[in-house]
């Protein structure tokens, strides 16, 4: 029976499992990036258009540490998110925080401008054809149905751990409950003696750090170039819209789910694999305007 189905679909079960696994791996990137966006949006109500540029800076950061200071991949994995996160904090304090009293659209416009500046500066300095970064975990394992490079397995693992840890921190800890309360009613939370602006700053830094982490993870497998983020960010926006903006679990589940769906599209109708996410987005918006996991507001 199963054989029949696979024959009908025109692919072998091996190929299908392989593609599913690859979809999951790509989903790991979507999840990490959309998680960062969702955290920032949930707390600051800002669509962080700089997210793609910060992801790019993460990848470049890994390259720079290696190239200038000789710090290998594993060191970069810790250092880069911290450094870029600190840079994000600087941006938030100096620029973004001045716009909170205005329409949220201004936050979007500001971060859009920042993205242009960052991308332009990196192009100016490093050119646009990209920089080499070697795979820290070469080789892999034959799973029977496909060859799984160690590195891809590592990416899925770390991304699941980070996503779940973030979810736990925000939904289940005391700190997280302050955060959520501050989003609902900042004045009240401030009255309890909690420093809301500082919390917002740290949240932004954290979200940016997640983008940078995704960048470091991407460096060994994707081309490290200044425009690597701007291509990806639009897809991630769609993921966030589908998941329901600001929903933490929503962005994680949707990230992985869409990675798998995209992977399947690559097998059955590869021409549509860039569009499929946007088509799903349109359908979701028709049926559930607030996104799959979002609450209307």
């Amino acid at each position: 029976m199963y054989d029949f189905i696979f024959q009908f679909l025109g692919v072998s079960p091996q190929a299908l499992f392989g593609q599913l696994l690859i979809g999951l791996i790509n989903g790991a990137f979507y999840a990490l990036l959309s998680l960062g966006l969702a955290v920032i949006f949930g707390m600051l109500n800002v669509i962080n258009f700089t997210h793609g540029a910060q992801y790019m800076m993460g990848a470049f950061g890994a390259w720079m540490l290696l190239h200038y200071l000789g710090i290998p991949y594993w060191g970069a994995l810790i250092l880069v998110p911290v450094i870029i996160g600190a840079f994000g904090i600087l941006l938030e304090r100096l620029l973004l925080s001045r716009l909170y009293h205005l329409d949220h659209l201004y936050g979007l416009l500001l971060t859009f401008g920042l993205a242009l500046i960052l991308e332009g500066l990196f192009r100016k300095q490093y050119g646009s054809s990209g920089l080499p970064y070697n795979n820290p975990l070469p080789g892999g394992i034959h799973l029977g149905f496909m060859f799984l490079p160690w590195y891809r397995g590592w990416v899925v693992l770390i991304s699941i751990v980070v996503c779940l840890a973030t979810w736990f921190m925000i939904e289940k800890t005391k700190l997280g409950s302050y955060l959520r309360a501050a989003t609902e009613n900042p004045t009240l939370v401030r009255a309890f003696g909690i420093n809301v602006p500082r919390m917002m700053t740290l949240t932004y830094g954290f979200g940016v750090g997640l983008a940078a982490l995704a960048g470091v993870l991407a460096a060994p497998i994707y081309s490290v170039n200044p425009i690597m983020g701007s291509n990806l960010i639009i897809v991630v926006f769609a993921v966030v819209v589908i998941g329901g903006m600001g929903s933490i679990m929503g962005s994680i589940v949707t990230g992985f789910g869409l990675g798998v769906i995209e992977g399947l599209t690559k097998v059955f109708y590869p021409e549509a694999s860039n569009t499929v996410i946007f088509i799903i987005m349109a359908i979701v918006l028709l049926i559930r305007p607030a996104g799959l996991f979002g609450t209307p507001r």
Binding site: N45, R98, G113, I117, F237, A238, T275, F278, A282
Partner: protein, 312 residues
């Protein structure tokens, strides 16, 4: 307060009629096309409070339609432009009915994603010529007798199209329809409670904006004799936002000034090569942080302050 819009518009048109004597007409045509694009965009952000991040889909897709019908099907220039505009209006109807279900940032994201779909369609559809675009679109005599192969002649045609577009938008925002739009921008809930079908108003504004963007795009295709992926890419939507922001959102003349500034910059800073992107970004950031009213908005505010001071 007295309304100086029409006298200013008259002076502007007079200047534009004389402009080709001093400025290169192809450059002027480009400014006019983008000015119309920004004006149409401003109709949404400035008067309905909806930030579309996907207007490139109307601009670029209409350009493809007019280029294709004129070049491949041999349609007359004016019919090609109308066809492009009409298709943009249809696309606006479809995109609009999806997008206006959300507001604010959500609206921006939805329009962006829809525009991406249109982009990928244009990338893959055979008729657009993929990366090469549609090239060497002929400039056939307009209405059968106006020779537009001369840049100067065509410039006046484009100027007329621009003026018509401006007047349509001006009429729309100063009509009862425009008043309702502003009411929706200020307080949507109240507009609903007053019995207005808010969604219909928004959709109409969206379609009007898409249509005029389409007019700008179709005209541009004939001016440059080409239609390409650049015009549908999301960066183009970003440029419309930038122009409107720099000129002044919600001002009558802001988008025109903004378009002129940005296009001039792109053309005359081309020698700075790699820095153009950075400069654009810096302008974006500075405008958002310090001059949110844009050039025209700041001037208007200054003028108001001065007149108040002189009439104690």
């Amino acid at each position: 307060m007295k309304n100086y819009d029409m006298p200013i518009f008259a002076v502007l048109i007079a200047l534009l009629i004389l402009a080709p004597m001093a400025i290169y007409p192809v450059f002027l045509m480009k400014v006019l096309c983008f000015a119309l694009f920004a004006l149409a965009f401003n109709l949404l952000i400035g008067y309905v409070g909806l930030l579309s991040f996907g207007h490139a889909m109307f601009f670029g897709f209409s350009a493809y339609i007019s280029a294709y019908t004129v070049k491949v099907w041999g349609w007359p220039t004016e019919i090609g432009i109308i066809a492009g505009t009409a298709v943009a209006a249809l696309l606006g109807l479809v995109a609009g009915s999806l997008a206006i279900r959300r507001q604010g940032i959500y609206f921006a994201m939805v329009t962006l994603a829809l525009a991406q779909m249109v982009f990928f369609f244009c990338l893959q559809a055979p008729f657009t010529g993929g990366e090469d675009g549609i090239q060497a679109v002929p400039r056939r005599p307009l209405l059968g007798f106006i020779d537009i192969t001369s840049d100067l002649n065509f410039y006046y045609v484009v100027l007329a199209i621009f003026a018509a577009g401006f007047l349509i938008i001006y009429r729309a925002i100063h009509s009862p329809f425009g008043q309702v739009l502003k009411a929706i921008r200020e307080n949507e809930a109240r507009a609903i409670s007053l019995g207005y079908h808010v969604d219909q108003y928004k959709l109409l504004a969206f379609v009007l904006s898409a249509t005029l963007t389409g007019l700008a795009g179709s005209t541009k295709a004939i001016v440059f004799q080409l239609a390409s992926l650049t015009d549908v890419a999301w960066q183009m939507s970003g440029e419309a936002v930038l122009m409107t922001l720099v000129g002044g959102m919600g001002t009558v003349f802001g988008p025109i000034v903004g378009a002129a500034i940005i296009i001039t910059m792109q053309n005359y800073l081309a020698g700075f090569g790699e820095w153009v992107l950075v400069i654009q970004g810096v302008i974006f950031v500075i405008t958002v942080l310090l001059f949110r009213r844009g050039v025209v908005g700041e001037i208007a505010a200054l003028a108001t302050r001065l007149t108040r001071r002189s009439e104690p």
